[in-house]
Symmetry: C2
Subunit: 375 residues, 2 copies
């Protein structure tokens, strides 16, 4: 939209529209939006000149430009993005599709993404699906109708069919996946190395002496669940610890079920001495149940989470967990996406960016000398 050296009109607007002096303009402020036509009429020039002045086109005399910009400010003119989008076939809007907004993860990603988008003059249309497939599909339709210039998506835990996302590919609208990606689509992705992170988390449990390590896994349909599970399995194998099916429970991330699973696990004749949870909410809920059972953490059972969510530092004991660079994920995905827009689709490359994680060791796995709660 901007090809010239003059800056676009983004001036601050005064509260009351008025002209300088002798020639007050009477608009019905309530319902008449100021358009370039109003400015043109007022200044006795053509719409095109006004448009060029506002967008910074060079071929407009500086005094004309000045008069236009001043009047625009006075009238509190705001560009109508609808018509601009219509004619330029660009909406300057990026869609972000996330499965939930409850944990701090996705909101934080959105913050990072929005920051990058704003720098480039784009705004974002956020929609969350409550981890519901039908809602996710409906949300992507909205994105299409609103002609987003690209979408960033993390799929719901129910999503097995990707037709609603492939439409974007066919229409030449760039997609970038993050976190929960779709393996069968060859588009850019921003992830962390879930396998590696899980491997090291479990290895940490092994190295601290645990032998029977349980895993509350995520739904198998999500790639991140499978990767974390594989990291778990390989870490055990590496250290010659048998992988027992009894100790691996995939579930649908519905927290209310955690209680059942934990009770089941701790009721086994040979209960686990450690638990690797697929994410922090699961780990935290597990800790609650375990405390309820009167068991000690980490003495009776050590816990490792995944995500370093809000709260994992102040729960007691502190939760050992995998830290992911949340905001960075959002920024990276958005940067990748913006790089695809306006670029020939033939040049798109399905890169996968893998961001670094870090195992944060806290009291849920290693007894720590914390300040006592007694003096």
């Amino acid at each position: 939209m901007q090809h010239w050296e003059y800056s676009q009109y983004y001036g601050n607007a005064p509260i009351y529209a008025r002209t300088g002096g002798k020639n007050p303009i009477a608009y019905d402020v309530k319902n008449h939006q100021i358009t370039i036509k109003d400015i043109a009429r007022e200044l006795n020039i053509s719409k095109s000149t006004v448009s060029r002045a506002l967008t910074g086109h060079p071929s407009v005399k500086s005094e004309t430009r000045k008069a236009i910009l001043e009047l625009a400010e006075q009238l509190d003119y705001q560009r109508n993005m609808m018509s601009i989008s219509l004619i330029t076939n660009k909406s300057y809007t990026i869609g972000i599709v996330v499965p939930e907004f409850i944990t701090s993860f996705f909101p934080q990603v959105v913050v990072g993404a929005q920051e990058e988008a704003a720098k480039a003059g784009y705004n974002v249309l956020v929609s969350q699906s409550n981890d519901d497939y039908a809602t996710e599909v409906a949300n992507t339709k909205v994105m299409l109708a609103n002609r987003v210039d690209g979408i960033m998506v993390s799929i719901s835990k129910e999503t097995r069919n990707f037709d609603h996302l492939k439409i974007f590919q066919r229409k030449g609208i760039p997609i970038v996946f993050f976190n929960r990606v779709c393996d069968e689509m060859a588009v850019p992705k921003v992830v962390i190395d879930d396998y590696d992170a899980a491997y090291h988390a479990v290895e940490h449990l092994v190295l601290s002496g645990r032998k029977r390590i349980a895993h509350l896994a995520g739904p198998e349909v999500l790639a991140i669940s499978r990767k974390r599970l594989n990291g778990y399995i390989d870490a055990l194998k590496k250290h010659q610890i048998p992988v027992s099916d009894d100790l691996v429970i995939p579930y649908d991330l519905n927290l209310s079920k955690v209680k059942i699973y934990i009770k089941h696990l701790m009721g086994l004749e040979n209960p686990p001495d450690a638990l690797f949870a697929v994410n922090d909410p699961t780990a935290i809920e597990s800790m609650r149940v375990i405390k309820e059972l009167g068991l000690r953490i980490p003495e009776d059972i050590a816990i490792v989470g995944f995500g370093n969510n809000y709260g994992s530092d102040f729960i007691e004991p502190g939760l050992t967990t995998v830290n992911q660079p949340v905001k960075e994920i959002g920024k990276t995905a958005m940067t990748l996406l913006l790089g695809l827009i306006d670029k020939d689709t033939a040049q798109w490359r399905a890169v996968t960016k893998t961001l670094d994680t870090e195992l944060i060791i806290r009291g849920s796995t290693i007894k720590q000398e914390l300040p006592q709660s007694k003096r």
Copy 2:
């Protein structure tokens, strides 16, 4: 937009565009968006008929309508909201302006709001300002340029000037405030009774025997801070407890400063035996510092927070706090807002909806018989 009995076109789209049989249509799928013109040409009818069929206008023969809808599905047609907005002067978009996305509060509000909006066929443009005034102003400009049909806003902690919001009033775009409202603007608001909630929270401390109750207050520029402070003061007065300036510390909600204040308070020659924090993050951070100092909660000092944020239930001891109906706030505000759209501005009433709160009593104020961490 919809006045007739037939449903609008929102059909599910197949992945590959194709016509039934003998007459395949060759469109450059990549860059040509399907328009009603394409459908009209293919069927040898006029754009107006196609438009009417898609919007559900009654005066189109059912077989014609059927053919149009079928072709639209096959071609994967999606309405271009830009042109619709342009002609109807409605964007079907609601702007939501929030100060932050870190605590769970605002994301939750957005979820509630989005749910209501979706029901009415609106989508939302969310923007968070990082509690920065300039960003908030920039964000509202974006909302204007995008011709939102209304905005829901909770102001930043820095906002003292409301010109950027008054513009909406002048342009006849409805505003609804929630949580952090602007007192000087007569528009609908959705709040909780901060005064009353704070009063009861503090009274709870008094009734449990505390005499020296400190208050880590929010910035005075925010009405919610002042109201909570007043509730605190009046509860003390009611019970003949002197209000001591030493024990009231207003701060800018920058959590890194909490440590200083707590150390200061606990270092007083006559330290407080209770703390009322302006919000949960403040309370939780205070608890961390207090534990670090080797003090016991609630024996040495009782803590009350505000908000019932994520984590306040599993921190130890559990945080006594004021629960607010978060999702309900979002839903109520959105419902109020949607009610104003398309209604004559003369009929707008600046109602203030006050939602109920509830004091949740946990271990941070009352020693509770919790299951021990030892067996």
